[in-house]
Amino acid sequence: MLNMIMRRLGAAVIIFFLVSILVFALILLVPGDPAVAVAGENADADRIEAIRSQLGLDDPIIVQYWNWLTDALTGDFGNSLVTGESVISGLTERLPATASLMILSVSLAVIGGVPAGLLAGLRPGSVFDRGASVLATIGLAVPSFWLALVLIMFFSLDLGWFPAVGYTPFTENPWNWFLGLTLPAITLGTAGMAEIARQTRAGVADTSRREYVQTAYANGVPEHRVVGRHILRNASIPIVTVLGLQVAGMLGGSVITETIFGIDGIGSYAVQAVSQRDFPVVQGMVLFVTIIVLIVNLLVDISYGMINPKVRSA
C-alpha cells in the first residue's frame, strides 16, 4: 500500500512539473509583447517597463522559469498586476468560500446520485431506472448558469427562501452560510449528481451480474447484505473514479457559479484576473487548482487501494 502511494506521489510530482511548465508558458503564448498586452495598448512606456520587469521578461526564458518555479514552490506566486496584492494570499483568503461551496456541492451530488444510481442499477429497465436515466440525461445538458438563474428567480425572487447573492463565512453565521450556499451548491452539484448516478447505476448493474454476487445469494446472504456489502463495495471503484473527476469539474464550474452568486472565491477571482489579463494571478490560480486536483487524484488512488486489495499489492 505504502509502495503504491509513493509511486503515485512520484507520478504526481512529475505531472506537477509538467503543469508548471505549461502554466509558465502561458505568458509566452501572448501574441506580440506580453508587457504591452498586459498593460494595454494605451499604456505609457514607464508602465510597460514596470510590468516587463515585474514579469521578469528581460531574463532568458530558462532563468525566468527557474525563478518563477522556485518562488512558486516557496508559496510565492508573485503579486497581482492590478491590485499589487500577493497572489498566494489572494488565493488562500478565498479558499474557504470555494471549499465550502465544493463540500456542499460534492455532498449533494453524492447524497443524491449514489442512492438513485443504486436503485436504478439493482432494477435495470424498471420505471425508476428509466425515470432516473431521463433525469440524469437532462441534468447533464442543463447549463449551470441557466439553472442558477432559474433557481434565483424561483427561490430567491418569488419565494424569498434563499438570498440571491452573497456569501457568509461559516464562522460568522453557520445558518446564513448554509442558506447562502444552498442555491450555488445545487447549481454546481446537479451535473455531478447526474454523472455520479449514471456511473453508480452502471457499476451496480455490472457488479450485480458477477458470479460472486450469485455465490453470496447461493449461500443465503440476505439481499440487503449482498447489496450493501458485496455489490456496493465493488461498484464503488467507478463511483470513486467519477467522484474524483467531478471534483475537478466542479472546481472549473465554480468559475461560473461563484460569479453568478457573487461569491468571492477562487473561481470569481479567476474570472476577474482573466478579464484584467492579470497574469500572475491567472498562473498562480491554475497552479493552485492543479495542486488541489492532484491531491484529489491521490486520494482517489488511495481509496482504490482500500477498496480493491489487488491494487494494494500491485
Binding site: 450469485q214 449461500n219 458485496h230 477498496i307
Partner: protein, 341 residues
C-alpha cells in the same frame, strides 16, 4: 405433528426432490421454455449426476433448485423440496435462510465466484454468521475449520488472504468450504471442476466424495463430462433440450444406455475437453424457442424413423429406477462405453 413423527419423515423423505420443474423465459409472444418439466430425487448420501451438452438446461435446473433464477427475470414452475421444506414456494428472507444452511451450490469458475474485495475467511465467516448465532470469533474459527475440511493447507493463513492470491484449485476449495460451512443436506456442484487443471480436477472430485461421506449430504453433480459421472456418481440423469431423456444407475447407463443421445455422449468422453459438441452426433441442440413436433433429438438421431417425429415421447420406466424418453429403446441395441472410462 409430533417431533418424533417429523424426525421420522425427514429420514424417509429424499434430501432433495424436484417435481416437474420448468424454467421459462418470459417473451412477448409466448414464454420460452428453457427447462421443460424435470423431476428427480436425491437421497441423503447419494450422488446424482446431471449430464448434457451446453444448452441442455442442466445448470439452469441447478440454479432453479436453488431458487436463483427468478432474480434474472426467469419464471419458475414446479416444486423443489429440501427434505420437508418446499423451497420453491419461499422467497426473500425465508429462502435465504435455507440457502447455504440446508442447500448449497458451487460454481464453474472459482476465479470469479469469490468476492475480490474481501478476505477468503471473512466471506466464509459471513455465511456462518448469517445462518448461525455465533460471535465473530466463533464464525472465523468455523471458517478456518471449513477450509481445513475442504483440504486447504495452512487454513489459518489462507483465511486472511484475498482471493486473487489463491490458485484456481484453492479457490474452488474455498468455495466448497463456504458451501459446507453450515453442513447443508444438499450440495449442488455446477461444473465444479471444468475450469481446473486435470490433476486438480481429480483432487476436487475426491474431496467432494469425501465430504459427502463425512457430512451425509445429497450431492448433485452437474457436468458435461461422463468421466466425472463415472468417477463420482451413483445415479445419473441425462438431459437434452431442457428435459431428462434417460435416467438410471450409473453402471446401467454407462454399459447399457437406452437412448441414442446417451450413446453419443459416451462416445464423446475422450474428447470432452477439446470440444463442447458431441462427437458422433451431427448437429446441435435445438434452440429452446424452436417449434418441433416429435422427439427433440430426432433431427440428430441416427435411429430416427417417421414415428419419432409424430409426437413427443414420454419418459418411460424400463426397470427399477431406470427411465428413458425414446419410443424405440427396445428396438435398438446400443453398445455403451466402448473403452474403459
Amino acid at each position: 405433528m409430533t417431533a418424533g413423527l417429523e424426525a421420522e419423515n425427514a429420514v424417509r423423505l429424499p434430501a432433495l426432490s424436484v417435481r416437474d420443474l420448468r424454467v421459462l423465459l418470459p417473451d412477448s409472444e409466448r414464454d420460452i421454455e428453457l427447462v421443460r418439466g424435470v423431476s428427480f430425487e436425491v437421497a441423503a448420501g447419494e450422488c446424482l449426476g446431471l449430464v448434457g451438452e451446453s444448452g441442455a438446461g442442466k445448470s439452469l435446473t441447478g440454479y432453479a433448485a436453488m431458487g436463483l433464477v427468478e432474480r434474472s427475470g426467469l419464471r419458475l414452475e414446479g416444486t423443489v423440496n429440501v427434505a420437508d421444506v418446499c423451497i420453491s414456494d419461499l422467497g426473500g428472507r425465508r429462502l435465504s435462510r435455507i440457502r447455504g444452511q440446508r442447500i448449497s451450490m458451487i460454481f464453474q469458475e472459482p476465479s470469479v465466484s469469490l468476492n475480490p474485495a474481501f478476505r477468503v475467511g471473512s466471506q466464509i465467516a459471513e455465511v456462518v454468521r448469517v445462518h448461525r448465532r455465533t460471535s465473530r470469533r466463533e464464525a472465523w474459527d468455523r471458517a478456518i475449520e471449513a477450509l481445513r475440511l475442504a483440504g486447504v493447507p495452512n487454513p489459518e493463513r489462507r483465511a486472511r488472504e484475498y482471493p486473487h492470491t489463491l490458485s484456481g484449485g484453492l479457490k474452488q476449495r474455498a468455495m466448497i468450504a463456504m458451501a459446507i460451512s453450515c453442513e447443508p443436506e444438499v450440495l449442488i456442484a455446477d461444473e465444479a471442476t471444468t475450469a481446473l487443471d486435470v490433476t486438480v480436477q481429480a483432487q476436487i472430485l475426491d474431496l467432494l466424495r469425501e465430504l459427502q461421506d463425512r457430512l451425509g449430504m445429497a450431492l448433485v453433480v452437474i457436468t458435461h463430462d461422463f468421466g466425472v459421472v463415472a468417477d463420482i456418481c451413483d445415479r445419473v440423469a441425462v438431459m437434452y433440450a431442457g428435459q431428462i431423456i434417460e435416467q438410471g444407475d450409473v453402471r446401467d447407463v454407462l454399459y447399457r444406455p437406452q437412448h441414442p443421445y446417451t450413446q453419443g455422449l459416451l462416445d464423446a468422453v475422450p474428447r470432452a475437453f477439446e470440444t463442447a459438441a458431441v462427437v458422433g452426433i451431427a448437429g446441435t441442440v435445438p434452440p429452446p424457442d424452436a417449434l418441433l413436433t416429435g422427439c427433440r433429438f430426432a433431427p440428430r438421431c441416427p435411429y430416427a424413423q417417421d414415428e419419432c417425429r409424430v409426437s413427443e415421447p414420454e419418459l418411460m420406466a424400463t426397470g427399477r429406477d431406470a427411465m428413458v424418453r425414446c419410443i424405440r429403446h427396445s428396438d435398438i441395441n446400443l453398445p455403451g462405453v466402448r473403452r474403459a472410462v
